[in-house]
């Protein structure tokens, strides 16, 4: 492995922020808008205050270090028979520190055959990605993973 030295000031542009402003603001700067919910409010809105269990049945795959915050891959897979009697009703993807914590709400049916959903999201900075899962019996499961977002590079 090559020695990694931080070559400061080698590259021109002054502040990293100037050229690589995240396209969405972090929570503290979020415009006040009824549709824009922070993570706790968003989770409550989805669960109606019901209990949420952290579960190993929910596999959440995100990069440990995201090369950029504009396109962060997210994969969710929930162990489920996906039958009429027992299936994944919805997978909600959220980002803990985005101004609007909600990314996508996916309503599945048994025809999907797998409790699976993948997409790519914007992350305004280092934060947790959360998969909130609703099962057909009305219960909620959860998995969360931290993503370190690097905002930098040249060119």
């Amino acid at each position: 492995m090559k020695r990694r030295n931080f070559i400061k000031g080698f590259c021109a542009a002054s502040a990293v922020a100037a050229t690589m402003t995240p396209s969405i603001l972090l929570a503290k700067d979020a415009p006040k808008n009824a549709n824009v919910l922070t993570i706790d409010a968003a989770m409550s809105a989805i669960t109606g205050g019901k209990a949420v269990t952290d579960s190993a049945k929910v596999s959440l795959t995100v990069p440990e270090i995201a090369e950029n915050g504009a396109v962060v891959p997210v994969k969710v897979h929930v162990e489920s028979p996906m039958t009429e009697a027992d299936y994944v009703k919805a997978i909600h993807v959220l980002a803990s520190k985005n101004g609007n914590a909600r990314c996508a709400d996916v309503m599945l049916t048994p025809l999907n055959a797998k409790g699976y959903f993948a997409t790519r999201v914007k992350l305004g900075g280092t934060q947790d990605v959360v998969a909130l899962v609703e099962l057909s019996d009305g219960s909620f499961l959860r998995a969360a993973k931290p993503v370190k977002v690097t905002i930098g590079g040249c060119g």
């Binding site: 990314c103 996508a104 055959a113 997409t119």
Partner: protein, 112 residues
């Protein structure tokens, strides 16, 4: 009717049989503007413009619906699974926050 927006539906694997579970991937060219970013040239905030709902249907019957937020990446990608019941047509209908509606279809052709 020519589609207003460019998009692609992909099935993975490309070759499959009746009863197989395949991946249905959908990519679409759309700015997914959050409404919080400034236009560098004018200095004005670019208005929010993003896909907010998607419905995947098989022969007209919805099997997956999605509510999408502006936090999804520009030129977004969505992927779900589907068990192949037989020949048919998969359609993806999507709407954005301006009310613009679009649709894309792909024939499901299982081998055997």
């Amino acid at each position: 009717m020519a589609e207003a927006r460019k998009s692609m539906i992909k099935f993975k694997p490309k070759k499959f049989k009746v009863g197989d579970t395949i991946k249905v991937d959908f990519i679409v060219i759309h700015p997914m503007e959050t409404g919080t970013k400034k236009d560098k040239k004018t200095g004005n905030i670019k208005p929010a413009h993003y896909i907010d709902s998607i419905t995947f249907s098989l022969d007209g019957k919805p099997f997956t619906t999605m509510k999408v937020w502006e936090t999804v990446s520009t030129n977004p990608y969505f992927s779900v699974n589907m068990k192949v019941p037989g020949k048919g047509k998969v359609t993806v209908d999507y709407t954005d926050n301006t009310g613009e509606k679009n649709t894309k279809s792909k024939k499901l052709k299982p081998k055997g």
